[in-house]
Symmetry: C2
Subunit: 764 residues, 2 copies
């Protein structure tokens, strides 16, 4: 029979052969064996080699994809196609505490519509902030089609910081896209509706229903949109669709396409043909050109009308001031893509087989010459299609969206009905290559493909149907993003990636090294407001305070306890718990959840988050850390006791569950002394080596030092009780001292392993 | 200038060179080139080859992982480690319509605690239903630690069907696990609390706070848990942890371990050592052995006490009847794993370096001989540790959870502090191999590793920290599941998989071919109740009906329109929209969202879902399909018009947005006739081949036939209006006729491509 529960033995084991026995040898199977067994071709192996990212290595690009009706933002790596994070944007998500802590509830509350909480969104188009037309990796904007809103995500911590509600629209689509220096974020409406919030009968569709584009002013210093400096331009009730901003020569203009310029109103239940028929009858729709820079000046000059407290430039003003023009475009388009040099606008209509390449020079020539082909029913000048085209290219059935390559003049267009991607030359107007995808591609994405410096290399096909591509998981299928190698002349399909939650519509990808996210917050940080929290708590200063009828709990979390461990309130109290995570170590997030209350906080290192709730009924409510943070994570718990009103405690003290003697104390003390010797040997091992050359080890040593300081504090308490011959408390504090030793040992061993595996050298 | 907007040309293009031009040639880069460029080793390529799943191929195993504080269930494929689906369980999730349609709101409402909506869960342990101890792939059960609940997911459609709230616990942990024939699902408490819901002071912890195990009766016919046939066994206030059911010789028993058998109550803010110290002081805790089969008989015999309307067998009864025993186990354990043959129970304590292998034979010998080592403070017999052990094995620092291999006697144990997996022999009691993971592994999973027929091959390490493994995404890191090849003698690390949402705790994997999920529902199906919906609607029977003060809208969705397209109600009305998806084609899901109302339905083929809301204020509320379902998806829209109370419509009819002439009609008609000729040629192409040998093509032909029938209906309408010389309606219906033709062509072309790529043959 081996010795049971020997604490010292345990550590010695780890120091000895435990680590050295780690197996890394390969199995006997060769690559050929594996290919044969799994039925893989040479092409498959090449694709695998192009996408596989070994442990600890990084992806080249980071993609940000909308999450559709999930209301979220999806972050994944390219070429591995591994999803790294779902960022909660419009929908509450408890893992992130989003919509569960007071701080993020305040962000969601900004997104209320007519005072109503809206707890989801239909995210469509994310946009990364730009500097001089180049992605700078600082911020991300994303729209909600269903409840016209724009959210701001800070890429320093990948958190949603702000939601703004469009004051005049009832749905949107053509956003978010940014100006080359991110002065403005565009949002275009989708389904025409009255600007006012009241009822207007559909009989007044032509007269009272309207579209619009909104230009949201972004303040880069504060990282927030400034609604009062934002404005909209009124548009006809054509269903506006996608947008893009000009760049280079076309900077100062924005472009927004449309469908249903027929202004058809359906009513199949009244015997009318459905919208789909009436909205696709004409051969062409219109795209809108807006001189946004001049529009901003008009607003400053007081020429905007106030609607719902918002600056709106009416169509009459736009026409009078010459800032709005219409250009015929292929019917039912879904893509408005300005070329990297800003000279061309490429549009595809899903019911046409061509992409149309417009010349900005020609468009401006027509505008400057006031050479109009006519006016629409609202008096907006229409430019002639033929006169404004650079070329048209027959790319396939159902062309949709175009993205650019690093190679000049090379573009890729998604072909919905054919389920293909067409590579083509928009200068020469010729098709270069085609590849089949699976199935029915919507948007596509090249690397930094809508910036002024597209990077080529990879293309992702955002397919709308997966059908048979994956193992079946019921009637509701995942989406499928297919990775395509575009580095050569011929496109090569590399990888099928299921999207397990939400239907992405649009995605943008940035070179991974441009992102510099933080790994911790300054201690006591309110991450949603980006400032020190008024409720932050320092270690040892935890307290419970009744103020203005609210019981405020100022608490902390650290491996492996929550302070306070017992919270007592009265039935009917409003309780506001503020938790500060005292950790500094990377990835040492704690959670905090209370039974039956909907309280769940995600406390990343340094963060302070709060939860306010009503203690509706008397009872016992366990709480605990919801992130497996340490060996004693399960013991990281506490009790919220809600006492009946006026409850008087009896004097009786509960019996100890277990009583400890001097012998228990001596045994624990001996263990700790022996454990310390082991730790000292690990410390000696580390400090004898050039550990300071390894940043991760420096962080581990810092963390281990913290733990050893905590151990010293606990030892002191244990010693004091031992001096008083209080063996109960002396033993328990000695146990706590040992807990800190275990944490220090865990960290120290991880540091030692890192040094061993990364060729650290003995220094003198 | 090329011909613009030619509808027929578009289809001809696709028929001609459009498809044949699809590029599949490889780039010039060789495997060596790629390895060099990407810095990959031979070992990396081998790992890539073992995990890469080419497009259209399937994974071997499907893993079901808990989603922690996300409240969801995560489904992924092995070996590709691609996430296939997040199944919404305890948290509302709009993509799935979960918590947004009336049917799923009713499921979530079952999970209310004391009448309060609980909108998240902390899912920990999923379990797949078993038949004779073998996974059968029919149902999945998962627990919520924070609000003690169990949910039932039907693996036919991967939807959550039921939530049951534990009537006596205030937190849980040791569930869900099932009996070998899924008669019962076990749920064990975690943090001790009073069974009653009121306040009990902590001073009465030893006397009034209790743990328990609940045995939920499952009815496989109805696919639901039957609360009234379920029962609990009262346990001491030791923090119960994980559970497992016996099998084979140990069938009839359940095993539940514990920590904090010290019954320590913390209070760091009162100067006491924290829970973590007081709960880890003793060298051993206890696991509980319960004879659940005899317990069930006792309940039937009326020996249970009713607490909160639930059957509870008290400790006194358990002791008197001999159904409850305690066995010392290594301190702070986190795993209770019965061997596949049911002869051994393996337990690891995180603060011991050994795994303990208990012999069921020896345990029963002691019980039968009434050979007790003592009794705990509640009178429960304690069996002697040494007498019940088969062996102890020193596996490393912080052992936690054990899973089994297909090879006899081979097990794998996760080692938390060492960050390793140890492979060992539990018959012989020796270590076989170790592998390092990154970092701090919690549970681990082998394929069907807790069934009676574990399959070996792969092991997944569910790590608690990712730290530096992935591209950084801010202070909150993804989790990391590492795939390990266990087919050879030495374990080999294959793949790092980030978990982008939630913190998984436990996972189970089943051979993929055992799952047989459906791809559509019977038409008009209420999927949450698994029966025809009372609100189902057949095509042509759409209607709006006011009944009992509620406006019921019976609508349908099909590519590409919603019927009705205009819904009129009055301010203050309660509106209940019932949508039936008429589609039968795989993956043809439609969505239905209304501006500003929190309405979002996910309508998989055949499903009927409903949303009930109050039309609080007059206004115009666009609605639309939220799934990109077809080329004309954006046009799949409508308007909810909420009229002010007592609003009287004026007689004035709105002007048509666009007026069509006979010339327009003739043009459209000509296009349609030409298009039909193209479609006929596609049909001829398909039917000349052995398409009936290809199930996916048969499905496509069926779908295309539907579309052509719809086209014929629209043609008939167009013809009728043309006969009346109503060119407006004749043109529009001709447009709709063409829309159906485009859908048929889309499907037909996909079928043609499939036949071309899969070697179909001409059958004269």
């Amino acid at each position: 029979m081996k010795r049971i529960g020997s604490k010292v033995l345990m550590l010695c084991t780890a120091m000895g052969f435990g680590l050295s026995a780690a197996g890394t040898a390969l199995g006997a199977e060769t690559l050929d064996d594996v290919m044969k067994r799994r039925g893989l071709t040479d092409k498959d192996i090449l694709a695998a080699a192009k996408t596989y990212v070994p442990t600890g290595k990084r992806d080249e690009y980071i993609a940000f994809s909308s999450g559709g009706q999930s209301g979220q933002l999806i972050v994944y790596g390219i070429p591995s196609m591994r999803i790294l994070k779902y960022v909660a944007v419009f929908t509450p998500e408890p893992w992130q505490g989003y919509g569960f802590d007071d701080e993020s509830k305040a962000v969601l509350a900004q997104g209320r519509i007519n005072g109503k909480d809206i707890n989801f969104g239909d995210t469509h188009h994310p946009a990364i902030s730009e500097t001089n037309g180049v992605y700078d990796g600082q911020f991300l904007f994303i729209n909600d089609k269903n409840n016209p809103r724009i959210a701001v995500v800070d890429l320093h911590d990948f958190e949603t910081k702000q939601i703004v509600v469009n004051p005049i629209m009832k749905s949107d689509h053509g956003g978010a896209f940014v100006t080359p220096n991110t002065e403005y974020v565009i949002e275009a409406s989708q389904y025409a509706a009255p600007f006012e919030n009241g009822f207007v009968p559909l009989e007044q569709f032509n007269e009272k229903y309207r579209g619009a584009v909104t230009y949201w002013k972004f303040n880069r210093e504060t990282g927030r949109i400034v609604p009062e400096e934002s404005f909209s331009v009124e548009l006809p009730p054509y269903s506006q669709d996608l947008s893009d901003f000009g760049k280079g020569p076309s900077d100062g203009w924005s472009f927004t396409n449309s469908f249903c310029s027929e202004r058809y109103v359906g009513g199949i239940e009244r015997g009318r043909p459905p919208f789909e028929a009436g909205c696709s009858q004409k051969d062409t729709d219109f795209f809108h050109m807006v001189n946004w820079r001049k529009a901003a000046e008009l607003v400053k000059a007081g020429k905007a009308k106030q609607i719902n407290g918002h600056n709106v430039i009416t169509m009459d003003t736009s026409v009078a001031e010459g800032i709005l023009f219409l250009v015929p475009e292929p019917k039912s388009p879904h893509g408005m893509d300005v070329s990297p040099d800003g000279k061309f606008m490429i549009v595809s209509g899903k019911l046409d087989s061509h992409t149309y390449v417009y010349s900005f020079d020609k468009l401006m020539g027509l505008i400057n010459a006031k050479d109009y082909a006519g006016k629409d029913p609202y008096g907006i000048p229409i430019l002639d299609l033929k006169k404004s085209l650079h070329t048209q290219v027959q790319v396939g059935l159902g062309p949709l969206h175009t993205q650019y390559d690093s190679k000049p003049c090379v573009a890729y267009t998604s072909i919905y009905v054919d389920s293909q991607v067409t590579k083509w030359d928009y200068c020469e107007g010729k098709v270069l290559d085609k590849i089949s995808i699976h199935y029915n591609i919507g948007h596509l994405m090249t690397m930094e493909g809508d910036s002024v410096t597209p990077q080529g290399k990879y293309l992702v096909s955002l397919n709308k149907l997966a059908i048979d591509r994956f193992n079946p998981v019921g009637p509701l299928h995942p989406q499928n993003h297919q990775l395509i190698d575009i580095s050569g002349d011929k496109m090569q399909l590399l990888y099928d990636m299921p999207l397990p939650l939400g239907e992405p519509h649009y995605a943008v990808a940035i070179a991974a090294d441009k992102l510099k996210p933080g790994i911790r917050y300054k201690s006591g940080w309110n991450s949603r407001e980006d400032k020190r929290s008024a409720f932050r708590t320092r270690p040892g200063r935890e307290k419970v305070e009744r103020k203005d009828g609210v019981v405020h709990v100022y608490g902390t979390t650290i491996r492996s306890h929550i302070t306070p461990e017992i919270i007592e309130v009265e039935e009917g109290d409003t309780v506001s718990v503020h938790m500060t995570n005292l950790e500094r170590a990377e990835d040492e997030t704690h959670g905090f959840a209370i039974y039956g209350t909907n309280v769940n906080l995600s406390l990343e290192p340094g963060k302070t988050a709060s939860a306010t709730f009503k203690a509706e009924r008397a009872g016992v409510f366990p709480y605990y850390c919801t992130e497996f943070c340490s060996a004693l994570h399960l013991e990281m718990q506490g009790y919220l006791l809600v006492k009946p009103k006026g409850y008087q405690a009896t004097a009786a003290k509960g019996a100890e569950g277990t009583v400890y003697s001097k012998a228990d104390y001596d045994k624990q003390h001996k263990t700790n002394v022996e454990t310390q010797a082991v730790i000292d040997s690990v410390v000696a091992y580390i400090t004898a080596r050039n550990y300071q050359d390894f940043a991760p080890v420096v962080a581990l040593v810092e963390d281990a030092t913290d733990q050893l300081n905590f151990a010293a504090d606990a030892k002191k308490k244990s010693d004091e009780f031992a001096a008083k011959e209080d063996w109960q408390n002396a033993t328990l504090w000695a146990g706590q001292w040992w807990q800190y030793q275990v944490k220090a040992a865990d960290i120290g061993l991880r540091a030692k392993t890192f040094l061993d595996q990364n060729g650290a050298k003995v220094v003198k």
